[in-house]
Symmetry: C2
Subunit: 227 residues, 2 copies
Amino acid sequence: MTAEPVKLPEHERAYRALREMVLYGELAPGQPVTIQGLADLAGLGMTPVREAIRRLTSQGALVFKGNRRVEVPELTLAQYGELAFARRAVEPELARRAVENMEKTDISALEEEDAALDAAIARGDVRGYLQHNHLFHAKLYALSGAHVLIAISEMLWLRSGPPLRVMLGRHGTANLPDLHREALAAMRAGDATAVAEAILGDIEQGIAQVSRSLGATEGGETGQGLR
Amino acid sequence: MTAEPVKLPEHERAYRALREMVLYGELAPGQPVTIQGLADLAGLGMTPVREAIRRLTSQGALVFKGNRRVEVPELTLAQYGELAFARRAVEPELARRAVENMEKTDISALEEEDAALDAAIARGDVRGYLQHNHLFHAKLYALSGAHVLIAISEMLWLRSGPPLRVMLGRHGTANLPDLHREALAAMRAGDATAVAEAILGDIEQGIAQVSRSLGATEGGETGQGLR
DNA sequence: CGCTTCAGAATATGATCAAAAATCGGGCTG
DNA sequence: CAGCCCGATTTTTGATCATATTCTGAAGCG
């Protein structure tokens, strides 16, 4: 089940590694990233790293920072609002479509993911929360078979990951959104509309919390305004 | 006002060139694309071309075919439906937001683009139609300042371009959607909702035509079904 | 305070290695 | 005897690396 042991090209490995670093908050927003630094870190030549960075930048997971540096973008509240708008439009639809193709074993796999997520929350494990939360949604959406919408969703998650990580770093894993139970119950009942609603609610809760977090920093702490 | 005469790196030039080829139908769906072929064609080394192709594939404008080949994807009707869903969700919103930031000179620029578009239609110039139609929408959306949504929209256009080109190749430039006049009138009136509706209508007309075109080929011509 | 110089990083090139596809030849079968 | 299929060779293509070149940022000097 581990698929190919050593079969994917190095630039693909570099891409996935960097991708997870962004998605699961191992790179903080504003933290500069150099090609050579990553190449040395990963023990790779710089060409594969270069290509991985290009792919990530074209997805908005990294941005060219003025001069020559690449870094994880710091989102403004307005930009996060755009993300939220798109996620509300796309993800419930993915959930709805996923229910059509769903087998019992798929539901079981999602339940396992949710259990791992709860365990991470109980442990206060931020990285574990981010990982299993993403996997829960990703696995659900993958069932839809809607590759175009999935690609959009992946891009949105890549951009949402870092601010979510920042919020978690401040408030810990308490009071986290978890409407996954409701979603799973609706899946077992085969009620696509209820699943879509549960997912929408789950997203909304996360959006609200991150928006509050972003609003707080923009208001005072990091002087983004005048002066 | 031509900005930087010779200032962008070669991989950026390669990216833009390839991007326009996909967007404006110079590469047909199913047509294979080789790195070295493009490198020789553009007179560049293969590294910049390589990176350009990576960026395009990560946006879905190109796909890895089997193992070694890269080509413009041929969409199924279902996949085009996903594109349509996302475009309906994103583009009217972009149009709505654009109206907020709109100056009189912006409207003039859009009118010029629309005039060039009409001229291309009258001329039966397919490439010109694709180009000015894209630029009309792209310039409008750019005014919104919503970079995240713009990125999504660009990705959707990259995927929609080739099937639109195929449809045009079959039916010519007759009966093309053009609710741009209505959109422009609403812009002058400052009515954001009416602009969004006009854009939605414009999109819907295009979607309907391409869907019919795709449905026809899948039904019979290209034996995609059994036998 | 402005200009020049220096250092570091990114870009681009070419070569080299590995893999896959297409082609060609031989053997087998009808 | 002719046609077809299978396998090996060849050629094309892609991936990676090491290196040279260029550009940007910063520091030092006039």
